[in-house]
């Protein structure tokens, strides 16, 4: 009998331990409460609330000028905020200057100091922390290896490509073991191909080093590919914070619905708002057959693009209005641009408010 209670106690203890680990992983890294930073009456960010968990990559996404950088700079200590609190690892860092904050920041460009070699760039912060010479060397070498830039120690920033410079900038921030990494459109100055490669690279580095990252971008594809969660912003406020899938499937606001992924706008019934439909939820039928569904519409095919598995069909639905539909190849007849076609929707996106 006692043996059994002992055993069950043991199991209970074990379960407790497991729960604690769960809690640890889910614990809060950064908390922003009611942050307001207005540059003037209408520019800035207003009443921002945001929580970032340990090991998470959270993206601030929104059109240019919506206030992403303002928030990121406030976290890094580069913006004096008017009100609100920033709590990192349970400590209030709101009043600290950048040099006292355990954050690491990488800007869009001009991160590196051109008068120092890559090694000296990396060493600068370590020296300030009084790290020993031998330790500095090994830390710098392993960090450059992590970003695949080993061997560039003696080069000057001017001798590296844009992508390489950004890798070094990330390495320079990481070598100081920041509690939180802040990236402000770090890849947007690079060309499309390198940008995609850098994305994968960042994801790998984040997982290898177990980093918590706040990432800023205006590119929704980049955000969808990288993020654990995305905070979609517009005009100085956060519209919705969710996982990429949730944002795509259940956008709460029309702005989010339109900003994330491709979106078509179909005419609603009389007195009704526009109907938002994803391209993959459009059904096409030859004109004579009429497409099944709640409402059927007519349009003229403008273009048919081959995207591998799918075809993207662009349809003109009136003057200056277009929709696009993703259709499986076997569903497409011998349609040609110029032809009239019937379409309807299978599934619409409904938002809570406009």
């Amino acid at each position: 009998m006692t043996e059994i209670t002992e055993l069950s106690d043991g199991i209970r203890g074990l379960l407790h331990a497991v729960e604690r680990v769960d809690e640890m992983e889910d614990s809060i890294k950064l908390e922003i409460k009611n942050l307001t930073k207005m540059f003037n009456d209408h520019e800035g960010v207003h009443d921002i609330n945001l929580t970032v968990h340990n090991g998470e990559l959270l993206t601030l996404l929104g059109p240019s000028g919506c206030g992403k950088t303002t928030i990121l700079r406030a976290i890094g200590g580069f913006n004096k905020i008017q009100s609100g609190e920033i709590i990192l690892d349970g400590k209030d860092i709101t009043a600290l200057p950048p040099e006292k904050r355990p954050t690491g920041m990488v800007f869009q460009s001009y991160n590196l100091w051109p008068h120092m070699t890559i090694y000296e760039n990396m060493e600068f912060g370590l020296k300030l922390r009084k790290t020993g010479k031998a330790e500095r060397r090994s830390m710098i070498e392993s960090m450059l290896k992590l970003v695949r830039m080993d061997g560039s120690e003696k080069k000057y920033p001017g001798q590296l490509s844009g992508g390489q410079q950004q890798r070094v900038a990330i390495a320079r921030a990481l070598v100081l073991k920041p509690s939180l990494l802040l990236l402000d459109e770090p890849f947007s100055a690079l060309d499309a191909k390198i940008r995609a490669a850098m994305r994968d690279e960042l994801k790998r580095i984040q997982q290898e080093a177990g980093l918590t990252i706040v990432f800023v971008t205006h590119d929704q594809e980049e955000a969808m590919a990288l993020s654990d969660r995305i905070a979609v912003m517009s005009r100085g406020i956060i519209q919705q914070i969710d996982t990429p899938t949730e944002l795509y499937d259940h956008p709460q606001k029309e702005f989010v619905a339109r900003f994330i992924g491709d979106m078509n706008e179909l005419e609603g019934g009389t007195g009704e708002k526009a109907i938002l439909v994803r391209p993959e939820d459009i059904t096409l039928r030859p004109d004579e057959e009429k497409a099944p569904g709640a409402l059927t519409y007519q349009g003229r095919i403008i273009d048919i693009m081959m995207l591998g598995h799918y075809l993207k069909v662009i349809i003109s639905t009136g003057k200056d209005k277009e929709i696009s539909a993703f259709v499986k190849r076997e569903e497409v007849g011998d349609w040609t641009p110029g032809e009239t076609i019937a379409y309807s929707w299978r599934k619409r996106v409904t938002t809570i408010e406009g």
Binding site: E99, G104, N111, L112, H115, F124, G125
Partner: protein
């Protein structure tokens, strides 16, 4: 000549001719001065001396007043440059970085120091200096020289500071450097070309400044250029040449040491505001 013309091609040919003229106009007098300074016997209208020797060098270097004026000028130039850096660099940085009311006014006020006729400014300064007992003092001359080159000392470094990207400074703050360390480790080194050009300009300007030094400095402060007036008037141009060559030496040394910073690019960046 024709052969040369076709050998070099049309453009190159004229380039060379222009270069030759340039050399003659700019370096001709210098070479002439150098030869004259090593003259032994020399009569005025001749181009080259009849005999050579170190006679005039001995004459200058054995003259106590002249030698002390050389030291005086060197010390003066060093003090002026150092003080000018101390005063003007912060102003230059502020103009480059901070958006404040009256920024344009501040910038233009530095221009004004060079827009008025020099003699007018010196006279005005002299009036004030009389009252506060700075006439005939080293401090007085230092002040005159600083006013003289202030505009360049603010404008050129300011242009260089403006060319340092804010992200480069902010990155330094981010990795743990305070504002002062950031300025000396990141901003200053990146703005070196402008700072050095401006310092050279100030140093050499102070070395050769005569009007203000004469007006404010005499009778107690004797600088090289003010002594040079006396020499040219009372001795043959040979002694003057020696003195002029001596005046040139610091300029040459500085230009050689800092030549890599003296690109046209660095200069033009300084004036782009």
């Amino acid at each position: 000549m024709k052969r040369l013309y076709y050998l070099l091609g049309k453009n190159k040919f004229w380039e060379y001719i222009l270069f030759a003229v340039f050399i003659l106009v700019f370096y001709g007098p210098l070479v002439n001065m150098l030869t004259l300074s090593f003259a032994g016997k020399y009569n005025y209208p001749d181009v080259v001396p009849k005999t050579y020797g170190l006679k005039w060098w001995q004459f200058i270097l054995s003259n106590k007043n002249l030698v002390s004026s050389i030291t005086q000028s060197l010390i003066l130039a060093i003090v002026v440059t150092a003080l000018s850096l101390l005063i003007c660099l912060p102003a230059a940085y502020a103009i480059a970085r901070f958006q404040f009311k009256g920024r344009t006014l501040v910038r233009l006020s530095f221009l004004l120091t060079n827009a008025f006729p020099k003699m007018g400014i010196y006279t005005a300064m002299a009036v004030v200096f009389y009252k506060i007992h700075l006439m005939g003092t080293f401090t007085g001359v230092v002040l005159v020289h600083i006013v003289n080159t202030m505009m360049f000392m603010v404008w050129i470094p300011s242009g260089s500071f403006a060319n340092v990207h804010i992200q480069q400074e902010e990155s330094a703050r981010d990795v743990g450097a305070g504002p002062i360390r950031t300025f000396f480790h990141i901003t200053m080194p990146l703005a070196w070309p402008g700072i050095i050009v401006a310092s050279l300009y100030t140093f050499l300007g102070s070395m050769e400044e005569a009007q203000g030094s004469l007006l404010i400095g005499l009778p107690n402060v004797h600088t090289m250029p003010s002594e040079l007036y006396g020499i040219i008037m009372s001795y043959a141009d040979t002694a003057g040449s020696v003195f002029a060559v001596i005046l040139l030496i610091p300029a040459l040394i500085l230009l050689i040491v800092f030549r890599k910073y003296l690109s046209g690019e660095a200069m033009s960046k300084g004036f782009r505001m």
